[in-house]
């Protein structure tokens, strides 16, 4: 579905991503992990065409990204960003309806059909009860759901998530990730998620891409990627890795220097 062919990108002098190649298949749940500044967010921005790579190219269903216009991209790829600015008090419904924008084009007003799609998206994300409240009044977890609903209103094939669980407590983390997993498994949506939290990434993702200073260090199943050698070499700190007692997926524990 998405193919990156040795893409390199820089904002100024220094390369932020170098010679990155990978494929994401339809229906996959892929995690992008790596230390701060390893290029995770930049990679996502390249995947939806906000930025264009200086070298290499990205294909979406075999079509070069740079040949697609913004509206086409927005109909197929939705993004849930880390934090969205809320300057003026739009309601939940108004915010979710904004997801219909790529289909409206020059039209100024949404149709009944758009409203119905937005309503379904809110039902799915369980935010229908507060559809008329201003988004700014909601809690962090509810807000995240609003932006997932906005993404669903775009009727995309791919959803890109940037640090979706940052700032959420564990209840809302699980809620949110279960919702994403359902979308992935039941609706066949392709998910690419950049995350700091390697335990979450290894628990939920089919495949992981581990970035180090803008290059792919390793790519594969969580078992292949989340190993003591890989993590210690990329992050430069000592960790302990065993298996999650329930799922059997790799689990990272931090070790304090000098032991306890």
């Amino acid at each position: 579905m998405i193919e990156a062919h040795s893409i390199s990108f820089r904002y100024h002098e220094a390369w932020v991503l170098q010679e990155v190649s990978f494929r994401v298949e339809k229906g996959e749940f892929v995690g992008v992990i790596g230390p701060n500044g390893s290029g995770k967010t930049t990679l996502l921005k390249l995947l939806y065409g906000l930025l264009a790579p200086q070298r290499g190219e990205i294909l979406f269903e075999l079509v070069p990204m740079k040949k697609m216009d913004r509206r086409d991209i927005a109909k197929r790829i939705a993004v849930v960003a880390q934090e969205t600015q809320l300057l003026f008090p739009f309601s939940v419904l108004e915010t979710v309806l904004m997801g219909r924008s790529p289909y409206l084009g020059r039209l100024l007003f949404e149709s009944e059909k758009d409203l119905e799609i937005a309503r379904k998206a809110m039902e799915w994300t369980k935010i229908l009860p507060f559809s008329e409240r201003p988004v700014e009044e909601l809690s962090g977890g509810e807000r995240k759901r609003v932006f997932i609903a906005r993404a669903l209103a775009q009727e995309p094939e791919v959803i890109l998530l940037d640090e979706p669980t940052a700032n959420l407590d564990i209840e809302h983390q699980i809620d949110f990730l279960d919702l994403i997993l359902t979308l992935n498994r039941e609706r066949g949506l392709t998910i690419v998620m950049a995350s700091h939290d390697m335990n979450i990434a290894s628990e939920f993702c089919d495949r992981l891409i581990l970035l180090q200073e803008g290059r792919i260090y390793q790519m594969g199943t969580p078992e292949e990627v989340v190993t003591k050698e890989n993590i210690e070499s990329v992050y430069g700190c000592e960790v302990w890795i065993d298996q999650h007692p329930v799922s059997g997926m790799p689990r990272i524990s931090l070790l304090r220097k000098g032991g306890r």
Binding site: L50, A81, L93, L108, L115, S131, Q154
Partner: protein
């Protein structure tokens, strides 16, 4: 479910349009020369219907050639400044933005002062023309400084606007220090915003710019909503953000340039009208733009009527009235915003 529909926008616009017409009608019945209200309105309607006029020659001149054009002009300027202010607040994502924030006003002021010092009479074509040219020049300079690699960065643009504005303010001070007593009074009235510089022809000069600007902005009303949550967010929803910014900035700047060129720097309207309208009708530009235009127009016609009549026969600069009424009213809205929002 509550959303903005075409029907809602039209209903509210028609209601507000009706209010505007009533305020214009009241405005033409008031002034230092007493013309009975009913006769004033009869003069107007008979003139519109092309019938032989009521009242005497003097009264017809006062109503049809002085008060009516001035009210219409105030309406256009009020509408233009309000829509321009709303646009700058959205594009710069700064609630304190107003139509003058990018230095357009200072360019216009330098032009106007040069015209005054050159003695290009206050109600001729000369002053608005030179002032408009000054405004256009400042727009070009600010955009030239505020663009990098073909992209507009709101913060760079804002800085460029502030700096160009400060430089032009220095020029303004320089010219003021050179001016004589009588010119000084004219300059100060212009800087405070004053319709006595204008006449019926002023309407013809500015209405194409204001109508075109507001129309271009309204076409983009839905996209202006999207850019409120940030440029990246708008791109994610398929908006060509660079084009949106370019067209919107230029439209809003042109509206401002046209407005200030005929009546000077009328403050407060472009700041408080969009905010007041947001507090009442919400932040959606599809309603915000027409409602701001109509309420802004009503507000400025009313303020100008007060400016003409409060101390008649002495005229106050309208900017004094907009600030005097606008400030306290805005504070009142802010204090009661919760109550307003639940309506």
């Amino acid at each position: 479910m509550k959303i903005i529909t075409l029907k809602k926008v039209l209903t509210i616009s028609i209601l507000l349009g009706f209010v505007l017409i009533v305020i214009i009608l009241i405005s033409i019945t008031m002034g230092s020369v007493k013309v009975p209200p009913l006769r004033s309105i009869r003069i107007l309607f008979r003139a519109i219907l092309g019938l032989k006029g009521a009242g005497n020659e003097t009264e017809r001149t006062i109503i049809l050639s002085l008060r009516l054009p001035r009210a219409i002009l105030a309406g256009f300027v009020g509408a233009g400044l309000s829509v321009s202010g709303a646009t700058f607040q959205a594009l710069l994502r700064n609630p304190l933005a107003d139509p003058y924030i990018l230095g357009v006003s200072s360019g216009a002021a330098v032009g106007a002062i040069i015209a005054i010092l050159l003695g290009l009479g206050v109600s001729s074509f000369g002053l608005p023309l030179v002032s408009f040219l000054g405004a256009l020049l400042s727009i070009v300079v600010v955009f030239y400084c505020g663009r990098q690699e073909g992209r507009i960065h709101p913060h760079t643009l804002l800085l460029a606007g502030v700096i160009v504005g400060s430089f032009l303010s220095a020029l303004i001070m320089f010219f003021i220090s050179l001016s004589q007593k009588e010119e000084l009074r004219t300059i100060i009235f212009w800087l405070m915003g004053d319709f006595s510089f204008s006449n019926a022809r002023s309407i013809l000069i500015i209405f194409p710019y204001i109508l075109l600007g507001v129309f271009l902005l309204y076409l983009r009303a839905r996209h202006l909503n999207l850019i409120l949550s940030g440029e990246e967010s708008a791109v994610q929803l398929g908006v060509d953000v660079e084009r949106l910014k370019l067209v919107s900035y230029l439209s809003a700047s042109l509206i401002t340039a046209a407005s200030v060129s005929v009546c000077g720097l009328i403050g407060f309207v472009g700041l408080i009208i969009p905010h007041s309208v947001r507090l009442i009708f919400g932040p959606d530009h599809r309603l915000l733009i027409p409602a701001s235009a109509l309420i802004g127009a009503s507000f400025l016609v009313a303020c100008d009527t007060f400016a003409r009549t409060l101390l008649a026969p002495v005229e106050l600069p309208v900017g004094v009235v907009t600030a005097a009424f606008g400030g306290p009213f805005f504070i009142y809205l802010l204090r009661t915003r919760k109550a307003i929002r639940t309506l």
